[in-house]
Amino acid sequence: ETAKPVEPAQPTAGMQSLKSARFLQLQSESVTYPEGYKSPNPALNQGGKRQGRNYDKEFLMQFQEVFKEKPSVDWETRVKETIGSDSADSARPQSAR
């Protein structure tokens, strides 16, 4: 009787993995990263309250090209509402006033 609702966008596999993944226990679990990927610098993580959660820049930068999933299906709308309508435009020149 009513107009057919628009099918809501489905989360991607990557978005779902991000939600369901558990935290690594960095002090008790040993992780073998695939070849070519470095572990966090162990010198930063000598015990303590941070529980191995110190990460050097080199380790963190490895994710930049690997994980590009948007946080949620409505992310672009949220960014637009929060940061403004020209958020997605890349090369718009700014008028200096």
């Binding site: 993995s17 690594l24 690997v66 590009k68």
Partner: protein, 231 residues
């Protein structure tokens, strides 16, 4: 139901995002939860600060950070008078916040806007914050980092809980703001953080970062308050 926290199985195989960016089952926890905030440029119609300062999103893992960073407007594309703030969750990026009001900030102004890769500099500072390489474990000073986009400059700041002195209600201990941390120790910790900040920004020795207390800035009515320390 995808939201459940799966029990760790004895023989579970660990799959990181590097193994499979679509089907991973572990992520890298951060030592703190962080919230990204954005200040919209004023419209010129008398809008108040509270309407301009917006919470964007909170996160607690390395993977979440990159999902956000890779899908948000870069600093170099923001309009003039915009700011990004990355603060520990629960701390508003304002000096009036109870956790900030006895603190201060290290800051550096890039006066030659065309000469700096501000996106790179801001990313490096955010990585220093979330990776906890700006301070040592027990320093307890770092509250957040901020980038300001202005007509004549970019500025990056690192906010600290104290100005190196005990704070009201800070207790007896040797943590930041406690009476057990002497003024000399407090200053030494802030200086070390300032040097880390400068190194993270990859500044030259001749380029100085400056520290000032928030209330000094507020009383001076501008950011021209006298710097207390330089590094």
């Amino acid at each position: 139901e995808m939201n459940g926290e799966p029990e760790k199985m004895p023989n579970e195989q660990i799959v990181t995002v590097f193994d499979d960016p679509e089907h991973f089952n572990v992520k890298h926890p951060l030592a703190n939860n962080w919230t990204l905030w954005f200040t919209k440029p004023p419209s010129g119609k008398g809008d108040n600060w509270n309407e301009l300062l917006k919470e964007v999103i909170s996160f607690d893992s390395v993977e979440d950070f990159w999902g956000i960073y890779n899908n948000i407007t870069s600093t170099s594309q923001l309009a003039l008078k915009s700011d990004y703030h990355l603060f520990k969750t629960g701390v508003r990026p304002e000096w009036e916040d109870p956790q900030n009001k006895h603190g201060g900030k290290w800051a550096y102004q890039f006066k030659e806007k065309k000469a700096v890769d501000i996106d790179h500099a801001w990313l490096d500072v955010m990585l220093g914050a979330i990776g906890e390489t700006l301070e040592d474990e027990d320093d307890g000073e770092v509250m957040g980092v901020v980038v300001n986009v202005r007509k004549g400059f970019y500025r990056i700041g690192l906010w600290t809980r104290t100005v190196g002195k005990p704070i009201p209600g800070g207790g007896e201990g040797s943590h930041a703001g406690g009476k057990g941390r002497s003024t000399e120790e407090g200053k030494a910790i802030l200086m070390k953080i300032g040097k880390n900040f400068k190194k993270t920004l990859q500044l030259k020795d001749s380029e100085q970062v400056e520290f000032s207390g928030h209330t000094d800035s507020a009383h001076a009515g501008s950011t021209r308050a006298k710097a207390k320390f330089v590094a």
